[in-house]
Amino acid sequence: MKMFNIIKAELSKYMIEVKTYYPDHIVNMIVTYIFFAGFFLEFRNYAAVKDSYYIGFLYWFLAANIISEVSVSISFEKQVGTLEQLLLKPVSLEVICLIKTLTWLAITFIKVMVLFIVIKLTLPINIVFNIKIIPILIITLIGLLGFSLLLGGLTLRFTKTASFETILSYILLFFTGTIIDINSMPILFQIISKSLPLTQGILISQSLIDKQPVFFSQMFLLCINSFLYFIIGISFFRYIYNKSKVEGIWNEY
C-alpha cells in the first residue's frame, strides 16, 4: 500500500510537471527524434551492419537518462528547499528516489516507443525487435539504478555533480559496445568495458536480436553485475546519508 501510494504520488506530480512545462517536453521529443533519426539513417548506409545495430544506442539512451535521475531529483529538491520534507516522511529517501526514477523511466520508455513508431512510419528504416530482450533490459536497469543511487549519494554530499554525470554518460557511450565494437578495443579497455553496468545487457540483447545463442555464463555475469552495482549503490547512498546526518548539510546548495 505504501509503495503504491508513493508511485501514485510521484506519477501525479510528474504529470502535473509535464502539463506545466509542456513546451520543454515537446522540444525534448523533437530533439530526440532528430537524434534517433540521424543515428538510424547513418547506419542504414552500411550493408554489413547487423539487425541489432540500434539496441546498444537504445540502452545507452535509457542509461544516460536513468543514471543522472536520482542526482537530478536530489539537486532539484535541495534547490527548491523540499529535501528535508522528503526526509521527514516514513519512507526512506532512497526508496522515494528509486520510485521517482522508475516513474520517470516508465514515461521515458513510453516516449521512446512512440518515437520508434514515428521513426518507422516516417523514415525508410527497419527495426527488428525481440520480446526476449525485455527481461534483459529490466535486469540491466537494476544495475543502472544502483549506479544512479551512487551518483545521488555524491549529490547529497557535494551538491553539483552534473558535469561528472555528463562524463559518465560518454564513457558509457564509448565503452559499452554502443557505437564501438568491444572486441576491437585494447585488452584493458575490454576488461573495464565488461565490468560496466550496461555492457553485458547490450551484448546479450544483440545476440538475441541476431538470433545467436546466449550462454548461461553470460546471463550469470549480467545478474551478478547488476546485483553488485545495485548493492554498492544502495550501500554508498546509505553511508553518505548517515554521514550527512552527522554533519548537517541538507540545505546547502
Binding site: K2, K8, A9, K13, G81, L88
Partner: protein, 319 residues
C-alpha cells in the same frame, strides 16, 4: 511527558575546527503543552529542532519519545510528528495547495479518502479552502506558511515542531496563526514545540519557555515566571507641580522625566522596592501636592529577552 532530552550535545566540524553548538542539554516536554525555544541567532535552536526530529545525529546524549529512543523508532517516528522547518520552501510552488496536500499525504502513506477529508477540514480551519486550487507560488507568505502547517497536520501528529512559524507574516496573519496554534494545543491536544524571534508570539502562545545561550539552557520555566523574575517594576507618576531634578533624585536613582510643563510633572521610575514609592507619595501628601496619576507596569517579554541576551542571565539578576 512526551519527549525527553538527556545530556544532548552537538558538535560540528568546520575547517578542521570543532564547534560545540549544544552542550549537555537536558529537558522534557509535556504532552499537550506549547513549549517555546528562544535564543539569539546561532544559539542552537534550529540544530536542537533538527536533532529532535532526527534530521541530525547527536554527538552525545539521547532523545526519547514516549520513553523510546527516536533512533530506534526509525522512520515510524515520522507518523507521530509533524514538522515545519524555517523558511517558506516546505512545499512545491508549482503545485496547487490541494495538489501539495495530495502529494505529501500519499508520501505519508495515508489513504485517498483520509487525505481528502482531513485536507478539506484543515483547509477550512486555516481559511484556505477557497484558494485550494491556486498555485502556491501565487500565495502570500502567510498562506504558504498555513499550507505547510496543514500538510504537517494531515496524519494527526502527536507533536508539531514549528521553526519560526510567524516569520515574515503581517499582523493579521500572525494573530490568526497564534490563535490556530493555541487551538491545536488546547482543543486537539497536540504538543507544540516552537521557536520564534517574535517575543509577542511566544508571550501569547507558550506555556513554557526555554532560553538557549552559549550552547546551554539559560532559563527554563513558564513565561509568567520569566517575566516575574526578570521584569523590573516600572511606575508612571504624575503630580501637579513642577518638580526639579534634584527633588526627584532624592527618591529615585533610575528615573525618566516624561513631561514637565504647566505645573505638571510626569516621571517614569524603575525600582524594586515599594518603600521609595511610599516615601515619595507620603512627602507629596505632606506638601499638599496632588498626585493625579500612578500606575505600575511590567516589562514585556521582548524587553526582558533584550536585556537577557544583552547582559546575560547572571548580570541580569543583579540589576
Amino acid at each position: 511527558m512526551i519527549l525527553e532530552i538527556k545530556e544532548l550535545s552537538k558538535t560540528y566540524k568546520t575547517n578542521r575546527k570543532k564547534q560545540l553548538v549544544l552542550d549537555s542539554v537536558s529537558f522534557h516536554v509535556d504532552k499537550g503543552e506549547i513549549f517555546s525555544i528562544l535564543g539569539e541567532n546561532g544559539a542552537g535552536k534550529t540544530t536542537l529542532i533538527k536533532l529532535m526530529v532526527n534530521l541530525l545525529t547527536p554527538s552525545k546524549g539521547k532523545i526519547l519519545y514516549k520513553n523510546m529512543e527516536i533512533t530506534t523508532i526509525g522512520k515510524d517516528y515520522y507518523t507521530e510528528i509533524g514538522v515545519v522547518l524555517e523558511g517558506n520552501r516546505n512545499i512545491y510552488w508549482y503545485l496547487s495547495a490541494y495538489e501539495n496536500i495530495l502529494y505529501f499525504g500519499r508520501l505519508m502513506g495515508l489513504k485517498e479518502k483520509e487525505i481528502r477529508e482531513r485536507g478539506e477540514e484543515l483547509l477550512k480551519f486555516f481559511g484556505l479552502y477557497e484558494d485550494k486550487d491556486k498555485k502556491v507560488g501565487n500565495f502570500s507568505r502567510g498562506m504558504q506558511q498555513k499550507l505547510s502547517i496543514i500538510i504537517s497536520l494531515l496524519h494527526e501528529p502527536k507533536i508539531l515542531f514549528l521553526d519560526e512559524p510567524t516569520l515574515g507574516l503581517d499582523v493579521v496573519s500572525k494573530m490568526d496563526m497564534i490563535e490556530k496554534i493555541k487551538h491545536l494545543s488546547k482543543e486537539e491536544g497536540v504538543t507544540v514545540i516552537i521557536t520564534s524571534h517574535q517575543m509577542d508570539v511566544v508571550e501569547k502562545v507558550a506555556d513554557r519557555v526555554m532560553i538557549l545561550g552559549e550552547g546551554k539552557i539559560q532559563f527554563l520555566d513558564t513565561v509568567d515566571k520569566l517575566i516575574n523574575k526578570y521584569s523590573g517594576n516600572k511606575y508612571l507618576i504624575r503630580v501637579e507641580r513642577n518638580l526639579d531634578d534634584a527633588e526627584i533624585k532624592k527618591y529615585f536613582d533610575t528615573v525618566n522625566v516624561v513631561r514637565r510643563e504647566n505645573d505638571i510633572t510626569e516621571i517614569e521610575v524603575y525600582i524594586d522596592s515599594n518603600r521609595l514609592i511610599n516615601s515619595f507619595l507620603g512627602d507629596m501628601v505632606k506638601r499638599n501636592i496632588y498626585v493625579t496619576h500612578i500606575s505600575k507596569s511590567q516589562d514585556s517579554l521582548e524587553d526582558i529577552m533584550y536585556k537577557f541576551l544583552k547582559l546575560g542571565s547572571d548580570s541580569f539578576e543583579d540589576v
